[in-house]
């Protein structure tokens, strides 16, 4: 574990550039939640040059599809989903201003390159820790695509949401380097 730090969203290019793989970061602020089906719809709008339902400038997107909230709860279990399924859409979204992504798992070379070029960052949250992570989510509302059920786009407000920098704007990739340290 390297540096531990707290960041208030939104993340700008300047903030992203200060982050290095291995940094343990606690995020506070607003982010969007979107996964496969929502990305597909966003891309269709982009291809048709139509207006998007979300603001991508300096946006953070959390790749996640929560379980339904029990009565009285803000959200259900809410851990990250595998990011590689969003890879084909990611370079376009980064070019349009998205600055940070939260997910889990490896990304393609193209995505890592786009992160570097656009001064962005890819964080990992702990996969399978959805009950624990849900406690950091203080507000949640549907922005659009309610018909997609668990795949609707949400706007959430998080407090001290724990993530680790796994791909940074210097081209670093923690998944590559971390494993090599413990190979025996």
């Amino acid at each position: 574990m390297k540096k531990e730090r707290e960041i208030t969203l939104p993340i700008t290019s300047e903030v992203a550039d200060q982050l290095t793989i291995g940094d343990y970061v606690y995020l506070t602020g607003e982010m969007y939640v979107a996964r496969d089906a929502a990305h597909k719809r966003l891309m269709e709008l982009i291809e048709q040059h139509k207006e998007l339902p979300i603001r991508l400038q300096n946006a953070t997107i959390y790749y996640m599809g929560p379980s339904p909230a029990k009565p009285g709860n803000v959200i259900g279990s809410a851990g990250p989903t595998t990011a590689s399924r969003m890879d084909q859409y990611t370079p376009t979204l980064l070019e349009l201003g998205m600055k940070a992504m939260i997910g889990k798992g490896k990304r393609t070379k193209e995505v890592l390159e786009a992160i570097r070029e656009n001064h962005a960052v890819y964080f990992a949250a702990i996969g399978g820790a959805g009950a624990l992570l849900s406690r950091c989510i203080k507000k949640s509302e549907i922005v659009c695509y309610e018909d997609l059920g668990a795949e609707a786009i949400l706007r959430i407000y998080v407090e001290k949401f724990p993530v680790i920098v796994v791909a940074d704007s210097k081209g670093g990739n923690l998944y590559e380097t971390a494993a090599s340290e413990y190979v025996r």
Partner: protein
Amino acid sequence: MRSKKGCFDSPFCRFWVFTKREKVMEIRYVDVADITKNIKEMCMEANFVLSEDMKKALENAKNTEHSPIGKKVLGDLEENLAIADKERIPICQDTGMAVVFIEIGQRVHFQGGNLEDAIHAGVRQGYQEGYLRKSVVSDPIERKNTGDNTPVVIHYSIVDGDGVKITVAPKGFGSENMSKIHMLKPAQGLEGVKEAIIKTVKEAGPNACPPMVVGVGIGGTFEKSALMAKQALTREVGEHSPIPWAKDLEVEMLSEINRLGIGPAGLGGSTTALAVHINTYATHIAGLPVAVNICCHVNRHITRSL
């Protein structure tokens, strides 16, 4: 005793044979409503509470893990389990596609409705009442969510006796997507099997939410190997194959996998897998199928006998 022939000739003895046969074939009636009720409860239980064997394996891993971040991740996972259990919320938001194994004694007769409908109904009710995520789409290309997490993947088997044994294993797709079948040549032998297992785990890496459980099916046909691999995931963690070479392979593979360095959450460390379970079956002279079904650390499986 009279001769068999004599017995069959007499009307009295014929009755006796008939009743004796009835006794041997005594039928047990099981109401399908019981199947629905149990599956409903099992879906919720499996998603809120991890089985003791898995909890213990994670706890042991926390004590032996070398990397500081790996230790922290394992600590967070422990806390995650405690929250899910206490608040009755899912351990992971991916509450899976429900896989149901049902062993039916051949003296069982189901009544009160259709068995398959009853299984789907149990999953539908469990996912509704338990606020579990509905992750199933009705068609793999058109992809419209069915809204109730059905249909279920059901594996039936007929066994001796009059029991009904149900295992519910909700399967998350982060790890399911990283699973593979390798159709090896017989000449590749044990070395080929080892390579196939390691290669699959290495490629899965952080995507499969390690520490993982690795289910392996060796032999059979294409689909038989996959089914054995899935079934291997429902075995109690720490229990070994009764076949000596398979047991040795389980031990060797676990140690090899934990030398890959992937670690908890793929962030580096000495705990990449908690167990390797191998099931085997006879196969064809021309083939050596090896299926590797990977499960994340939320390896949910719950069994009840009715």
